[in-house]
């Protein structure tokens, strides 16, 4: 595939900002109820016509790259395409209901939330689910607070959380933020949890073990039942990081593997939009024994209809009302449209696509068998340079240099949405970039609207606001 990205620039500067295109000062009528020190007499705004404005944003969109233009195989991010019907559902005027109304008048809203609680519980093998946490990492934090509340209620003061070295960085942060010491667990030579090291790490201080399954190399933790028994025998809880749940959807359930708490990344597994700062959602599921600690409010069904309630020993609120409603509506719509067979078909194709793509690569994949993602290595070539060169072949590159277990890692997750032609395009981009000359790699990309970024200058002299644009070096 040939690729040349649109590039609007003048004197080597990209499409100017609106404020650079025009800046018109207008007087404003400041008479009003607000005090003088809170009002202005004049305001400077870009004075542009509608076509100027339309062209500006269309140009920016053409200089961008998204999953609507081509594959986006960022490993561990699950950048699947979000079907647009979910946006239609969320845009329905009936979905725009203020949450601060009596339960009796928002039965439809509560019914949908209750339905999603039930769906997620069924899919994860959990007994109860809160929809309130506003992101995956917020879900992790919520889950660890629940674990803490559980231990404290039993008068069992524990200080440690065990996390594999290959885990997502948010696991370490969530545990530390909840006040725990983190015990880092090395991987065994197959890239999985080292059972002997786990045995040595577990003690009566162990509050929980946090695990991703399949792990960040895409490998299934085969010893999960043994791991579960070891943690539970020591009085600890088992936490499931749902970031890679797309691999198991409709086929295996964390609850059946012995996990007590899990979070769902609805933006990965159930195709709600990836944040960009939010709003997002990171529902948390728990087993019966922990249901009383869930955040408030939850939705339950009674003979008189749906109602909100506060779990008996609730850890409190982690976000407003029932969570980020419109995100939850999209997750509900996606699950309802796909149904049982559609969800298990998604995980099957996610795994098939990853394995087909890997089979077409000239790069080595040191660990396997893998599920929905794999860590290839670019060997003696710099993974970041290979990735930048891949841009020139019209695809988004994979996650690079992580997990650290694989040197020069290229963590690749094509997701279930790519067809064979698109996987072949990806394989071509990998192989062509990997075989390119040193010079081609060091100067890439050359066909994108933004060329090689000077990362050193960007890191040493960050301009974090448009107000810093005029600053000298």
């Amino acid at each position: 595939m040939n690729f040349d990205q649109a590039r609007f620039s003048r004197d080597d500067h990209y499409e100017p900002l609106l404020s650079e295109k025009d800046s018109t000062t207008v007087e404003v009528d400041a008479d009003g109820v607000l005090p003088d020190d809170l009002t202005r007499d004049e305001l400077t705004l870009p004075g542009l016509s509608e076509p100027q404005l339309a062209r500006h944003y269309t140009r920016l969109s053409q200089m961008n790259y998204s999953v609507e233009l081509g594959p986006y195989p960022l490993g561990s991010c699950t950048m699947k395409y979000n079907p647009s019907f979910t946006e239609d559902v969320a845009a329905d005027p009936n979905a725009a209901v203020h949450p601060d109304r009596s339960d009796r008048t928002i039965q439809g809203t509560l019914g949908l939330l209750h339905g999603l609680q039930e769906q997620l519980a069924e899919i994860g093998g959990m007994d109860a689910v809160t929809l309130q946490p506003p992101a995956g990492a917020a879900g992790e934090f919520t889950g660890i607070l629940i674990a803490k509340a559980y231990h404290e209620a039993r008068g069992d003061d524990r200080s440690e959380i065990i996390i594999p070295a290959s885990a997502h960085g948010t696991n370490f942060a969530s545990a530390a933020l909840a006040g725990y010491d983190v015990v880092e667990l090395p991987s065994d030579e197959d890239g999985r949890v080292d059972i002997e090291a786990l045995d040595a790490a577990i003690s009566e201080e162990t509050a929980a073990l946090m695990l991703t399954n399949p792990n960040t190399l895409g490998l299934f933790e085969r010893d999960i039942l043994e791991i579960s028994e070891m943690v539970h025998d020591a009085g600890g809880l088992l936490y499931y990081d749902g970031a890679n749940f797309n691999a198991l959807l409709g086929r295996a359930r964390p609850g059946d593997m012995g996990f007590d708490i899990m979070h769902y990344n609805v933006h990965k597994t159930f195709a709600t939009p990836h944040g960009g700062g939010g709003p997002g959602a990171g529902p948390v599921g728990v087993v019966d024994e922990l249901a009383d600690y869930l955040p408030s409010p939850m939705v339950r069904e009674t003979a008189a209809g749906y109602e909100l309630f506060e779990p008996e020993s609730s850890i409190g609120k982690v976000h407003g009302f029932g969570g980020n409603w419109l995100v939850l509506v999209k997750a509900y719509a996606y699950i309802a449209r796909l149904g049982d067979s559609g969800l298990s078909d998604a995980s099957a194709k996610a795994v098939l696509n990853a394995n087909y793509l890997a089979s077409q690569l000239d790069l080595e994949v040191p660990y396997g068998p893998f599920h929905h993602e794999f860590a290839a290595t670019s060997g003696d070539r710099d993974a970041a340079d290979v990735a930048k060169r891949m841009l020139d072949y019209g695809v988004h590159p994979p996650t690079t240099k992580w997990p650290e277990l694989v040197s020069q890692a290229m963590l690749t997750e094509p997701t279930e949405v790519e067809d064979k032609a698109s996987l072949d395009d990806l394989a071509h981009a990998f192989n062509a970039a990997y075989a390119d000359s040193d010079e081609a790699l060091e100067t890439a990309p050359t066909k994108t609207s933004a060329r090689r970024i000077d990362q050193v200058s960007a890191a040493r002299n960050p301009r974090l606001s448009w107000q810093a644009l005029g600053d000298d070096e």
């Binding site: 990362q455 050193v456 890191a459 040493r460």
Partner: protein, 126 residues
């Protein structure tokens, strides 16, 4: 071939310390700066802080990695190289000179015996 001056001692984690006088200077080796690549940020303790041999005393960040800095010896910080806050590239350009990080008043002279000699450190980097 990386420069490993003979007038100081080293840690396996690639920090160096001078050994003479009432105060010693601490930094990272030529090998370390080369491995890190372009340094973009350095975080150091304050003057007057106590640091302990083997413990983390700061952080060095490059475009490739964020690494902890470990103290070769224990003591009280008497000076911090504030030039690094505006010009972290000094760590790359002159790791044994202008790229120094801390000046320390050591609490004991015994700890210097546990450090690597230039020859031992050279073997480690080869």
């Amino acid at each position: 071939m990386f420069e490993i001056p003979d007038d100081r001692k080293y840690l396996e984690s690639h920090e160096w310390t001078t050994t003479d006088g009432d105060t010693v200077k601490i930094g990272i080796s030529d090998f370390a700066q080369d491995e890190l690549g372009d340094v973009v940020f350095v975080e150091l303790p304050d003057e007057g802080d106590e640091i302990t041999a083997g413990d983390e005393f700061g952080v060095v960040e490059s475009i490739k990695a964020v690494s902890d800095l470990y103290a070769p010896v224990s003591g009280t910080v008497v000076a911090v190289n504030e030039d690094l806050f505006d010009a972290p590239e000094l760590v790359n350009e002159d790791p044994y000179g202008d790229g120094w990080m801390l000046e320390l008043e050591p609490s004991s002279s015994d700890e210097f015996d546990d450090l690597l000699s230039p020859e031992e450190y050279r073997e480690q980097t080869e």
